[in-house]
């Protein structure tokens, strides 16, 4: 390790880089502390986000070893997975949830870590809160004990989902021991047609590259479609990188990124902001950077997309039919049969018209303001079908406030949707929002695994928030473009 830091002068540093590199490589190199004897890299983590599920055991391990938190100012906490979305009054009705809440409060207080709890007005899903407070910034390394940490890559950060032992590693050292990833550039060309969203783009990418296609890779998303996306859409795109097997997904920062961050609470202010922009720009991939491989996806032909199976790669355009067994490669056939059996669907059948029981709009994939605005446009045009339970769950208290200021809550309520408080809700089964029996849920979340939404027999169809809203009104899967 060159003693670079001794040269770190107070005058304005120059950020020009000689060799062409991808953003991933630049971030990796600037954050690498040293090579470890096992061949991995010790990587400094600029922002550590924690929540109630994966942190209590990590704090317990610290206590066992008598270790301090090395950089308490670089860790921030929120509560999202277990928090009920109806009443958040304390003590929480579920004793286990209450004990997790208490543990988080105690651990963060003892260690001097800010906690965005419901009282603070800043609470929400960790991957919604980080960006909206301006904590998530380009060129950073970010880690969180949650696999959807890839979301933060929308800002040009390199963000890793980690396990609890690694949460302990970061608390104790602000570092992780990691293998360098290969970088795959995925260019989505052309323009999305009306009614097609970032959710459809990422589901199409996963269908094409497979649920394990990204193992060992960081995905760099680029191309005209990605350039045209808002930061919120880019978050949806990066969020589901993990469903494609890639631990990291990112988009190079651009003017939209900087404008999004300007004025946010934890973003640099005043002159420091201008200096930050200069550095952020310098961290973007060089035009002639080398990649492990490149994939091109034609954005013009992407359709509103729906999953029919039990992994996110098992998806089709809404007007397509479920594949036939003869279309499926031999080694995927057992999984194919298992998926159809669980979903109570048939090979070759249309997905349009499939009756649903529950509609869920929310999650770190699609619980931000723009998602709710788009879904409200559909909700305006009808009423939730009589036999459907429909929930709208804002991703954070801030999203809820903004949506309420625009009257979106009223639109949803008038259309028969329940308007809830911020949390992970029905994305996973750790709070009271759950499927029952073999209910079928049209969901804007990210995982359609067996049992994911709380009932072992429960069934999930992943789709965009607009498609969920349309399914709620019709009581069945429908091409939402009929409403637009």
């Amino acid at each position: 390790m060159a003693p670079e830091h001794t040269r770190c002068a107070p005058e304005r540093p120059s950020y020009s880089q000689a060799v062409s590199k991808s953003l991933f490589d630049k971030v990796w190199d600037t954050h690498s502390v040293r090579e470890l004897p096992n061949g991995q890299t010790q990587l400094f983590i600029g922002l550590h986000l924690i929540h109630e599920v994966t942190s209590p055991q990590a704090f317990a391990m610290l206590r066992e070893r008598g270790l301090e938190v090395r950089f308490p100012e670089r860790t921030f906490a929120t509560v999202d997975h277990i928090i009920p979305t109806q009443s958040q009054a304390r003590p929480l009705a579920d004793d286990l949830a209450e004990s997790m809440m208490v543990a988080l409060e105690r651990n963060t207080q003892q260690r001097g870590i800010p906690l965005f709890d419901p009282e603070s007005g800043d609470q929400g899903i960790v991957h919604v809160v980080g960006p909206e407070l301006g904590l998530t910034q380009p060129g950073m390394t970010i880690a969180c004990g949650d696999s959807h940490t890839s979301t933060h890559g929308a800002f040009g950060a390199v963000a890793f989902g980690i396990g609890t032992s690694q949460v302990r590693d970061i608390l104790a050292t602000q570092c992780l021991s990691l293998d360098r990833l290969k970088v795959r550039r995925i260019e989505v060309t052309g323009a999305l047609r009306p009614g097609v969203y970032a959710k459809d783009v990422i589901l199409s990418i996963i269908r094409r590259l497979g649920v394990k296609g990204g193992v060992g890779h960081a995905y760099e998303y680029a191309g005209d479609v990605v350039d045209a996306m808002s930061l919120e859409q880019r978050m949806t795109l990066c969020n589901m990188s993990i469903e494609g097997g890639a631990r990291v997904g990112y988009v190079n920062p651009d003017e939209k990124t900087f404008e999004y961050l300007r004025g946010r609470r934890y973003a640099p202010q005043g002159d420091a902001f201008d200096r930050a922009v200069e550095w952020w720009r310098s961290m973007a991939s060089d035009p002639d950077a080398a990649y492990a491989d490149r994939i091109t996806i034609d954005g013009n032909v992407i359709e509103p997309t729906v999953t029919w199976g039990i992994n996110p790669g098992q998806n089709i355009g809404v007007n397509e039919n479920i594949p036939l067994l003869s279309d499926v490669p031999d080694d995927e056939r057992p999984g194919f049969a298992e998926a159809l059996d669980h979903m109570q669907l048939r090979a070759g059948q249309a997905i349009v018209g499939t009756p649903i029981n529950v509609a869920f709009i929310g999650s770190c994939t699609n619980g931000r303001l723009s998602d709710l605005r788009e879904a409200a446009e559909v909700a305006k045009r009808g009423h939730v079908a009589a036999n459907v339970k429909a929930l709208v769950v804002p991703g954070s208290q801030d999203v809820a406030r903004q949506a309420e200021a625009e009257g979106l809550d009223e639109i949803f309520r008038a259309a028969g949707f329940e308007w809830r408080k911020a949390g992970c809700s029905m994305c996973l089964a750790m709070n009271p929002d759950k499927l029952k029996g073999d209910e079928l849920c049209a969901s804007s979340s990210n995982r359609n695994f067996k049992g994911r939404q709380g009932s072992p027999m429960g069934r999930t169809l992943l789709m965009s928030p607009v498609m969920v809203a349309a399914a709620a009104l019709d009581g069945k899967v429908v091409d939402a473009r009929e409403y637009l």
């Binding site: 470890l36 004897p37 010790q42 055991q57 097997g245 080694d331 996973l428």
Partner: protein
């Protein structure tokens, strides 16, 4: 708990067929409402086992007491919950053998000193068949020679070099190693413009 070197694992296998088995199936989310990992062992694969009504491999009496879980492709995909390997560890598994493992799952395993070994496709198929025919047979995984021996023969057992080194040296507990960097951590941090608030 000082990390122990893992050079060799001997024991019996339990065959769990199927690809893309995700962490929601390994440990359903409702069991994550806890502040310690204690007691997770009994809930491993709970929903799958209940649906299989006694026919799940983890409930197969012939495979009871097995310490090596033999799986298919992309095992452990999905959520980053360390509760998944923790529950399997507490159930009694000390090693996983499969075609491939999801990245975060494999990292979590390494942090717990649990090896994730991959075999070539035909070797894995032969091992699965053999263990199902004779679950009482002894399986030996030797990490130094990268070999797995069963009644189906001795085959190449692949492991990524980093985790392998950590396991055989007993250096899989990363915290201790990361701490050794000392002030180099602060030195790296102080070179980052954002750590200095762009001053």
């Amino acid at each position: 708990m000082a990390p122990q070197a893992v050079e060799r694992i001997t024991g019996r296998g339990c065959v769990l067929r199927g690809d893309d088995i995700d962490t929601d199936r390994i440990i359903p989310a409702r069991f994550l409402r806890c502040v310690t990992f204690d007691g997770l062992g009994e809930h491993a694969f709970e929903d799958d086992r209940e649906q299989a009504k006694g026919n799940h491999p983890l409930d197969n009496e012939d495979m009871a007491g097995a310490n090596i879980l033999i799986v298919g492709e992309n095992f452990g995909c999905g959520s980053s919950r360390e509760h998944a390997p923790q529950s399997l560890l507490r159930f009694g598994f000390q090693a996983f053998v499969g075609l491939s493992f999801a990245e975060i799952f494999a990292g979590n395993c390494t942090a717990l000193g649990l090896p994730c070994i991959t075999l070539d496709k035909h070797d894995l198929a032969a091992l699965m068949d053999s263990v199902e025919l004779d679950p009482s047979q002894e399986i030996v995984i030797d990490f130094r020679s990268d070999q797995l021996t069963s009644r189906a023969g001795t085959v190449k057992a692949h492991q990524r070099p980093g985790p392998k080194k950590q396991l055989i040296e007993g250096s899989w507990d990363a915290t201790a190693i990361l701490i050794e960097a000392g002030q180099e951590i602060e030195a790296t941090a102080n070179q980052l413009p954002y750590v200095r608030n762009f001053q």
